[in-house]
Symmetry: C2
Subunit: 110 residues, 2 copies
DNA sequence: TCAATAGTTCAACAGATTTTGAACTAAGGA
DNA sequence: TCCTTAGTTCAAAATCTGTTGAACTATTGA
């Protein structure tokens, strides 16, 4: 049982930018970047919004090809698709993550 | 007589990403990047939409701090705020421009 | 002065996005 | 089995965006 993800070639630049042009989703990506290698479940992000709302934002990130979501029991393990993004749009993710360092929502989880 | 621009510190990452998360505006930025140093007036972009619509998109770009618009007679001279963007978000603009190389709307003007 | 050119503003509309709560599914532990 | 935990789905509401045409301003050239 696994959720639908776009393949690397289907990841679209305008869509990636539009999806990251949102405080909440940018904060999620910033958080994932700071904890790369550690599997994250949705509840890590409850600080950023309601359960329902997070479900919505996490789906947007997955559908845009920015994150990968693996099902593990009742949890989802969420990670950045860094390899695919780096291959498709070199330097983009890094520059965004660096620039997102001090966004307000992310400060909350420091 | 000059139009309102945000100062460099006011340029916000989420807003820049949201504004660039649109085909038309991404195409405008791609076009500006290919012709850096040459002053562009709005009518260069008529291929991308109606006069009214371009006015809307160009205002979004200016208000987000992505472009600078100078008034020159009845024309506007539009340029990328590359220096400010590079200082604020190093590497971001370059990676976006590189990645935007093959977006559909831009192909039209080649 | 008059007409043409370059672009803006406005109000309206259609459609997309975000947010919410209630009801739901599915797995895991007692 | 029953309860809890983790997250999804759905429909509704509120808001935001993009697009349009008509009317407008301001500059330029004849």
């Amino acid at each position: 049982m696994s959720l639908p993800h776009p393949i690397a070639d289907q990841i679209s630049l305008p869509n990636v930018l539009a999806v990251l042009g949102d405080q909440t989703r940018l904060a999620i990506v910033g958080y994932l970047a700071r904890h790369e290698g550690v599997a994250m479940s949705c509840r890590q992000f409850l600080e950023f919004g309601s359960k329902t709302n997070l479900s919505y934002h996490l789906a947007k990130l997955r559908e845009a090809g920015i994150t990968r979501t693996e099902v593990s029991g009742t949890s989802r393990l969420i990670s950045l698709r860094r390899d695919d993004l780096d291959r498709r749009f070199p330097g983009l993710l890094d520059s965004i993550i660096k620039a997102a360092h001090d966004i307000p929502l992310l400060e909350r989880l420091k």
